[in-house]
């Protein structure tokens, strides 16, 4: 069974670029939506908070698979044209995880001590500068660890895109399974699992780097990892 490993590897590795693209695209959209919706959740305006709350609860409350199928099958029936599968996938990944990310942002901003807000007011910084120069740099340090978990969830969710025939790792595995011998199934799936593990480790390593930078920026030694 090991002689087919090179074939399995090369076939599955060809699925890595779409998986990575979906992950990176999903993460980019997640970051933007988390920031916008998260800051909206701590807005002074009730209407802004309400709109954001509806977005967050809606996307956290309905299943990701349903959201994916809805964009893939229902939207075309309603508006008459179909988004390309990878695009639909990135959209759903971003919208879904952005809703979870918004809660992370809200929690981190609210965890910044009140005295920091008051100090910024005393220095007569504008509301925008208060947020940008005082509150956010501190909040970001708190946000990064939970965002690492969220991004790994997102990476795992990209496997769902195989259900709407995006040519990513899992989909390619499914194409391979019926064509190889019985003993090869385990090899195929193990390779898939290892690919995801490596990608998850890469995300973790990248985020650790960011954590250290963000902590250094506000003059703190990071809680996790080794101080340099």
């Amino acid at each position: 069974m090991l002689d087919s490993l090179p074939l399995i590897l090369s076939f599955l590795m060809a699925g890595v670029p779409p998986t990575v693209l979906a992950t990176v695209g999903g993460i980019a959209l997640t970051v933007v939506l988390s920031a916008v919706a998260g800051l909206a959740l701590v807005s002074r305006h009730r209407a802004v908070r309400a709109v954001s709350r509806v977005y967050v609860e809606f996307f956290r409350g309905t299943s990701e698979v349903v959201q994916l199928f809805w964009i893939f099958f229902v939207l075309p029936a309603l508006v008459g044209y179909q988004i390309i599968p990878l695009g639909a996938g990135i959209l759903v990944l971003g919208l879904n995880h952005g809703a979870y990310g918004a809660e992370i942002v809200r929690g981190a901003v609210r965890a910044v001590p009140r005295a920091q807000h008051e100090g910024a007011v005393a220095l007569s910084l504008s509301p925008w500068d208060r947020m940008r120069r005082v509150v956010l740099p501190q909040a970001v340090v708190e946000m990064l660890p939970p965002f690492t978990n969220l991004f790994i969830q997102l990476l795992k969710s990209t496997a769902l895109l195989s259900l709407v025939v995006v040519d990513e790792v899992v989909r390619r595995g499914q194409l391979l399974v019926p064509n190889l011998g019985v003993g090869e199934k385990l090899t195929i799936y193990l390779v898939e699992l290892v690919i995801y593990l490596v990608l998850a480790l890469l995300i973790t390593a990248g985020m650790r780097l960011l954590e250290r930078r963000a902590a250094a920026r506000v003059g703190r030694v990071p809680a996790t990892g080794v101080a340099t």
């Binding site: 956290r60 409350g61 299943s63 199928f69 990209t158 496997a159 259900l163 899992v170 499914q174 799936y189």
Partner: protein, 219 residues
């Protein structure tokens, strides 16, 4: 024809969707029970430092929670029969859910166990209680209630992940919705209703968990 919303059709398919939802709820319930039990075993094994087993469990937990549930479900449903273990869609799905979420619940229990004050362990040792009594009568009764809200959150997450088991043939609510839309060529009502059903259950559930969180004072 597609497009627009047909109320008559929506009402007509509700009973079928409800039957599918019952399967989803059943898978969630059984998966949760397995995740609660197995996660506790993982946590206790790691805390007790059972020979090399605690390292194996630790490595497994780290690996299993970094990889997609969908692939794990395929492994359980398609590869296990090769070694003589053939499971139906529901059994395989529940096993996949339970094993995946046990990796999360074990971390939750671990935090709960660590929050039990050292004095409790020392007192139990001073009374020379047997190991099983230390766990069952002293540590767990203090650790578990504290982590109930966190466990509740994972039940809700699991509920929303059940639909991916359609890939291994589980006839849950989204599968039913897909079948209905294939028969009628109307995807709008079945899939929209499926989404609404999820929202109707998971939103109130998350409100309850949040209230529980506030009461226990733990996150």
């Amino acid at each position: 024809m597609t497009g627009g919303w047909d109320w008559a059709y929506a009402v007509e398919i509700l009973p079928a969707l409800w039957r599918g939802l019952q399967v989803t709820l059943l898978a969630t319930l059984l998966g949760s029970l397995l995740a609660f039990g197995l996660g506790l075993v993982f946590a206790v094994v790691q805390r007790n430092r059972v020979a090399v087993l605690h390292r194996v469990v630790w490595a497994f937990v780290q690996f299993w929670r970094s990889t997609p549930l969908l692939v794990q479900a395929y492994v359980i449903y398609q590869v296990l029969p090769d070694v003589g273990i053939t499971l139906g869609s529901l059994a395989a799905g529940v096993l996949a859910l339970g094993l995946h979420y046990a990796c999360y619940t074990s971390e939750v229990y671990r935090a709960g166990i660590e929050a039990v004050p050292p004095g409790q362990w020392e007192a139990a040792a001073a009374l020379s209680l047997p190991r099983s009594r230390v766990w069952l009568a002293v540590v767990l009764p203090q650790a578990v209630p504290r982590v109930l809200p966190a466990l509740g959150n994972y039940v809700i997450s699991m509920f929303k992940e059940v639909p991916l088991l359609l890939a291994i043939g589980l006839v849950e609510v989204v599968t039913v919705a897909r079948q209905l839309s294939a028969e009628s060529f109307r995807p709008v009502e079945p899939l929209t209703l499926a989404g609404i059903l999820f929202l109707l259950i998971s939103y109130p559930a998350s409100v309850v968990v949040r209230r529980l969180e506030r009461r226990t004072g733990a996150r």
